[in-house]
């Protein structure tokens, strides 16, 4: 495979992955019905109602573990989903949703679209893992499923909120303070 072709394909994949968040980041977090990109609006639950989820559905963070000490500022997080399916944003298949990774933030309101910013990462292609970069310090991570319109289900399908400790890699200066 030529380098050019590989680069073009990568660029295409990357553009697709980034398209939705890039658009949504221009809106403010408090807008309940913000536009997440080019996807047509799915036939979702009527306003004020949330998509139902089975009571045994749950998500969890497969890695890292709660309390994990991570010796890198860049690491993989993988998303576990049980008794529930994954679907891209903009689709409306019962008992499915897409992952949102909440970083260093409490849960958002359950009756509106999950904010889209650097503390609320959207995985609208239906991704089941990601690689994130966090500065050295203590951080919290939590998964929250959203429906086709990024609204949490009823009951919400979310993981435990875990804490991880990112330790500076050798040769990397620690950040003076990780407090907000």
């Amino acid at each position: 495979m030529s380098i050019t072709r590989r680069r073009a394909l990568l660029a295409l994949a990357f553009a697709t992955l980034l398209a939705a968040p890039a658009v949504a980041q221009q809106t403010t977090a408090s807008e309940a019905a913000h536009d997440h990109g080019a996807s047509p609006a799915p036939a979702s639950a009527p306003a004020g109602q949330r998509m139902p989820a089975p009571h045994d559905a749950y998500v969890y963070i497969g890695w890292p573990n709660d309390g994990e000490v991570i010796h890198s500022t860049r690491f993989k997080v993988w998303f576990g989903t049980r008794n529930f399916g994954v679907a891209p944003a903009g689709t409306n298949v019962p008992d499915t949703g897409h992952h949102h990774l909440l970083i260093d933030t409490p849960l958002p309101p359950m009756d509106e679209a999950i904010p889209n910013d650097k503390r609320h990462l959207h995985f609208g292609l239906g991704q089941t893992e990601t690689i994130i970069e966090l500065p050295p310090g203590t951080h919290t991570l939590q998964l929250l499923m959203g429906d086709g319109n990024h609204v949490p289900h009823d009951p919400p399908v979310m993981s435990k909120r875990i804490t991880v400790h990112v330790v500076a890699e050798r040769g990397v200066e620690p950040v003076a303070s990780s407090k907000q």
Partner: protein
């Protein structure tokens, strides 16, 4: 000029004539990868009941009913070789479909040595181009 070259490369990348016999029509990024998170290759599983955790990098999961680029759904191949890469994956006890977008599955296998392999399928259950399949692993269920 550069843009044109990218467009041409893209056409080659997404085009079918070269790879038509080797893969289905749905493209996947070249760095996409499917793998079995658990069990590990060689794992011994007393009782034979276990969850298979399915991993996917640089692509997305979608239910079978959804047709969206760079997504697919998992299939677990149990005790069988890869099927043809340009046809719908068979649907039987050796080819388990997870068309609701599942990423984990509970399996129960009898005592003996078994193989497991993942193969991603598109909305028509046909492998992608390039096809995404995991390493074939072996597990052992003791008597």
């Amino acid at each position: 000029m550069g843009r044109m070259r990218i467009a041409v490369s893209l056409a080659i990348g997404l085009g079918l004539p070269v790879a038509a016999a080797l893969a289905g029509p749905s493209p996947m990024p070249p760095d996409a990868k499917v793998y079995i998170i658990w069990p590990r290759d060689g794992q011994v599983i007393p009782g034979g009941k276990f969850w298979v955790r399915m991993g996917l990098s640089n692509a997305g999961i979608a239910p079978a009913s959804v047709d969206k680029q760079f997504t697919g759904h998992h299939h677990i191949l149990v005790d069988t070789d890869l099927p043809p890469m340009d046809e719908a994956i068979p649907n039987d006890k050796h080819h388990l479909h997870f068309g609701r977008g599942q990423t984990e599955a509970r399996l129960e296998l009898p005592p003996g040595t078994h193989t497991l392999q993942l193969l991603l399928g598109d909305t028509n259950h046909i492998p992608h181009n390039p096809p995404l399949y995991s390493q074939k692993i072996t597990i052992v269920v003791p008597q």
